[in-house]
């Protein structure tokens, strides 16, 4: 595993040409667009981070009004939507990481292999991987 980095070339001629052509088209569009030479920029003396916070939480009364920085839209609803999406992503990642063997969900981080359930296996403290030995001896754990 200590070999150096190797480039992977070959059989990528057509996608390469396509990417370069796309870049050429977009660069032509940009170079033919007349941008103003001077950026507007942010006015001196105000904190950009604070203004981002005011825009995120709809604190329009606290927002600075000088320049066009006061035209920042309030973003509270989108902030909450992003929070819901992140929660959904967390749940989906947990569902994906969970294994299903014989209809029983197995915890993602259990260290017990479920392929062969013979013999006493350690670290079943999460209740996920119960084997034949513990089940036949009463079954009060479930």
């Amino acid at each position: 595993m200590t070999n150096g980095p190797q480039l992977r070339l070959g059989e990528s001629l057509l996608p390469g040409i396509l990417a370069v052509a796309l870049f050429g088209v977009m660069a032509m569009i940009v170079l033919n667009t007349g941008f103003a030479d001077e950026m507007v920029g942010f006015p001196e003396g105000i904190s950009v981070t604070s203004e981002i916070g005011y825009a995120l939480f709809d604190f329009t009364a606290l927002q600075s009004t000088e320049g066009s920085i006061g035209n920042t839209e309030p973003f509270l609803i989108s902030f909450l939507l992003i929070a819901v999406v992140l929660d959904a992503a967390l749940d989906a990642a947990l569902v994906l990481a969970k294994r299903e063997t014989e209809g029983e969900p197995i915890a993602a981080l259990s260290s017990v292999s479920t392929g062969d359930s013979a013999g006493a296996q350690p670290a079943a403290t999460d209740g996920g991987a119960e084997n034949g030995t513990s089940r036949s001896s009463g079954g009060e754990q479930r």
Binding site: P5, Q6, L7, R8, T49
Partner: protein, 94 residues
Amino acid sequence: MTYELIAFALFAFVTLASALGVVLLADPWHSALMLGVTLVSVAVYYVMLAAEFVAMMQILVYVGGVLILITFAVMLTQREDADAETETDEVVQT
């Protein structure tokens, strides 16, 4: 005037070279390292564009979160085949 332009040119070179390294290197682990260089150098542009908070979020979220997750996945999906070390991107018919 020219100092900022020179800094921009240098970091643009670093960003483009490391991004090309991400897509051209054969080993996904090397690609992940190059992706880290790309993400850190993108944060420099954010500082140049007066977006210090976004630059810090770039470092925290991308380098501290996304890159670590990708590193986990690269390490978890490494195959132990001897012939797959150099050609991890080829189709293996099983």
